[in-house]
């Protein structure tokens, strides 16, 4: 009887240990909720999700690459590149007579297609030319920055169709208490009437893609192979997996997500700039590591990475609301990051 109780205790501790990031997130949220009035509200939670959307996407991008044992330093500037391209395209299409919606959709599609190119190049460099991912993606970072600056010529894009901003900042569902529910369209109400907003469009958009790729990662053969490559690349290739193709695909997935992030950025802020994503790179990588993935590859899940993103996003929003200088964020993220890796040594079963 004693051993059973002891074993259950051990298991409970082990489960907490393995999922400490989630526990940490809850505690963190609780901390801010207690200290700041109004923190634990739907509005704030949505704000956290809204401001963190780009990082969610970049972190997912990094996750795929990191699982294979690589790293993608270019995602920040691919994001910027995507903002520049999509914003310019929207302006061009809108002025050529396309309907605003048409312009937006066409621009998005074209940007996503073009956004695959940096990933393709990264993948070929890493897989075929055996350039270390750090160098290859750092080079791509420079190239994207250069091309973005060239296209922008120092002038940020203007005159984008306002519809972009409406969609980008809008919500999926609006509830006017007592009146009714509205889908996608913000109800016209008199001033002072309360409108409850549910789930920003941007977040929905991002989560759909993230969910799809999370499914791919966990439930498809492709996902299995990605983990295998990260775990033991020789074993994977001897088992018949086309390692080169998979690596190229993974980097293309990464730049795809970075482009998505760029598009969302444009929809949110109605502008495009080359360094839009520069600061988000480190947040994305930190989120992946805090979420438990190993830098050596072979482990990590989308869900855990999202939790990692939330830890950072909550921290940032919480600090801002407390009026604390946001540079504390860097210190705290740095500490959490290091702490995560040290913890991983004691609970090494952070695998899938």
């Amino acid at each position: 009887m004693n051993t059973l109780v002891a074993q259950r205790k051990r298991n409970a501790l082990g489960t907490i240990g393995r999922n400490w990031v989630l526990v940490f997130l809850v505690l963190e949220f609780g901390y801010f909720a207690i200290l700041t009035r109004g923190f634990a509200s739907l509005h704030i939670v949505q704000m956290i999700l809204f401001y963190g959307t780009e990082v969610f996407l970049l972190a997912t991008a990094e996750l795929f690459v990191i699982i294979t044992g690589g790293i993608d330093l270019s995602v920040g500037y691919v994001l910027g590149f995507a903002t520049v391209i999509s914003s310019k395209l929207m302006v061009v299409f809108a002025s050529r007579g396309l309907s605003p919606l048409g312009a937006i959709v066409t621009s998005i599609v074209i940007t996503l297609c073009i956004g695959l190119i940096p990933g393709f190049v990264n993948g070929v460099l890493v897989a075929k030319l055996r350039v270390p991912p750090f160098i290859a993606t750092f080079s791509m970072l420079g190239v994207c920055q250069g091309v973005s600056e060239l296209l922008m010529q120092g002038i940020p894009a203007k005159n984008l169709p306002p519809l972009a901003g409406t969609i980008g900042n809008g919500h999926f569902l609006y509830i006017v208490p007592g009146s009714g529910i509205s889908l996608l369209q913000r109800p016209d109400v008199a001033r002072g009437v309360r409108v409850i907003e549910i789930i920003p469009n941007a977040v929905v958009f991002a989560l759909v893609f993230i969910a799809i790729f999370a499914f791919i990662l966990t439930k498809t053969r492709f996902g299995q192979h990605i983990y295998a490559i990260g775990g033991n690349i020789d074993a994977a290739s001897r088992a018949g997996i086309d390692v080169k193709k998979h690596i190229v695909t993974v980097y293309m997935i990464s730049s795809f997500f970075a482009s998505l992030a760029g598009i969302i950025y444009v929809m949110k802020y109605i502008t495009g700039k080359a360094d839009a994503g520069a600061a988000s790179l480190l947040d994305a990588i930190a989120a992946v590591v805090i979420g438990g993935a190993s830098m050596f590859g072979g482990s990590g899940t989308v869900w855990r990475t999202i939790v990692g993103c939330l830890v950072i996003a909550t921290l940032e929003t919480g600090l801002r609301m407390r009026g604390t200088p946001t540079f504390d964020k860097y210190i705290l993220v740095g500490v959490i990051l290091i702490f995560t890796v040290v913890i991983e040594r004691f609970f090494p079963d952070f695998k899938r």
Partner: protein, 363 residues
């Protein structure tokens, strides 16, 4: 990590020939010389002593950081925190000088103390990074990334926001940007300072030789070249990068060595930060987009080091820094748009690595 000797399909006779090896080993140098030749034509004023001195003077910080990264990268690690350790040292030194300034200590004393503070504080992140890597087995990428954030945060606190620290003694920029020799053609020759009869605005009429930064660079390069190539410490650094297990089993105290390496790297970053105060006259935090550390790493890789460890030379890293610095300067003088430079750096870097693959045996 050891690399087995694999016969690549790229092992053509050329690669194995002496010319091939010579070209492969020194491609960066050849590229540098070629670039300089081209810029001499496309850029008026490029091929002049004034410009060359300027290039090196502005590259001082990059040189110091590149020396730092050389040591770390040879051990197979990386130090992403150097940019922000630099900012930390810079702001701390400035703060100390400002604080001491209000106590009425003489200028030389407060400058010296401020500089000392900036240098000493750098050892702390270095020690922490080193301990994390050596004893806690944290991957260097993560450990130094974490320190990056921590240093950045602390620096910004010291700055009270995104404001550089001003109010420093005005003699500082003169020390940082001064030259050894000032020659007024046909008229005078002064050491250490411009002749008094020339006002500041006309200083460019003089021939100025040997910036003080040269002396700093020469001293640092000499000392660290010696350490890396002539001492047991340097030999052990290469050994750890080549095969860490072999080093452990040969009795080398790898943990302590790695801690020293990261402290060394942070010290040089601190030196860069303090020098920055002398160069600009204010205490600077490092911005996100400067990417000092990434460019330092790029310089070291272009100079022939491998991110896997075990390879790299001080001279090579110097060439790498010069390649990047001359590229920046030459393109600017030739009136080419900045974006070309970004693309060029990316291409160069990739090329460097491919060369490294082709010639794995070259030291």
């Amino acid at each position: 990590m050891p690399r087995p000797h694999v016969q690549h399909d790229t092992d053509t006779p050329f690669v194995q020939s002496r010319t091939g090896k010579l070209l492969g080993r020194h491609w960066a140098l050849f590229f540098l010389l070629g670039m300089m030749a081209i810029f001499a034509f496309t850029g008026p004023g490029f091929f002049e002593i004034v410009n060359f001195q300027n290039i090196i003077h502005l590259a001082t910080i990059s040189i110091l950081l590149a020396v730092a990264e050389t040591f770390v990268i040879i051990t197979g690690g990386i130090d992403l925190s150097v940019g922000f350790v630099m900012g930390l040292s810079s702001t701390l030194a400035a703060r100390v000088m400002v604080i001491l300034g209000s106590t009425g200590i003489g200028e030389p004393a407060l400058i010296a103390l401020g500089a000392l503070a900036g240098l000493l504080v750098a050892f702390i992140p270095g020690f922490i990074s080193g301990t994390l890597v050596a004893r806690f087995k944290v991957p260097p990428f993560i450990a130094t990334l974490g320190m990056w954030g921590i240093c950045n945060g602390i620096t910004l606190h010291l700055c009270d926001g995104f404001l550089p620290i001003a109010g420093l003694p005005s003699v500082l920029p003169r020390l940082g940007n001064g030259y050894l020799f000032y020659i007024h053609k046909g008229q005078s020759f002064t050491l250490f300072r411009k002749p008094d009869y020339i006002p500041d605005e006309r200083v460019r009429e003089l021939i100025r030789l040997v910036p003080f930064s040269f002396i700093l660079i020469a001293a640092v390069v000499l000392v660290f070249w010696y350490i890396l190539h002539k001492s047991r410490f340097g030999q052990h650094t290469y050994a750890i990068g080549g095969n860490i297990d072999a080093a452990i089993r040969a009795g080398i105290d790898v943990d302590r060595h790695l801690i020293k390496i990261y402290m060394l790297s942070a010290f040089l970053a601190g030196l860069a930060g303090v020098f920055n105060v002398f160069q600009t006259g204010i205490g600077n935090y490092t911005t996100f987009s400067s990417m000092y550390e990434l460019f330092a790493v790029a310089a070291v890789v272009i100079g022939g080091a491998s991110l896997l460890g075990g390879k790299g030379r001080i001279v090579g890293s110097m060439v790498g820094v010069l390649v990047l610095a001359v590229l920046k300067n030459g393109l600017a003088i030739s009136g080419v748009q900045p974006f070309v430079r970004y693309i060029a750096v990316g291409v160069l870097l990739t090329f460097a690595v491919i060369i490294d693959q082709l010639f794995p045996d070259l030291f």
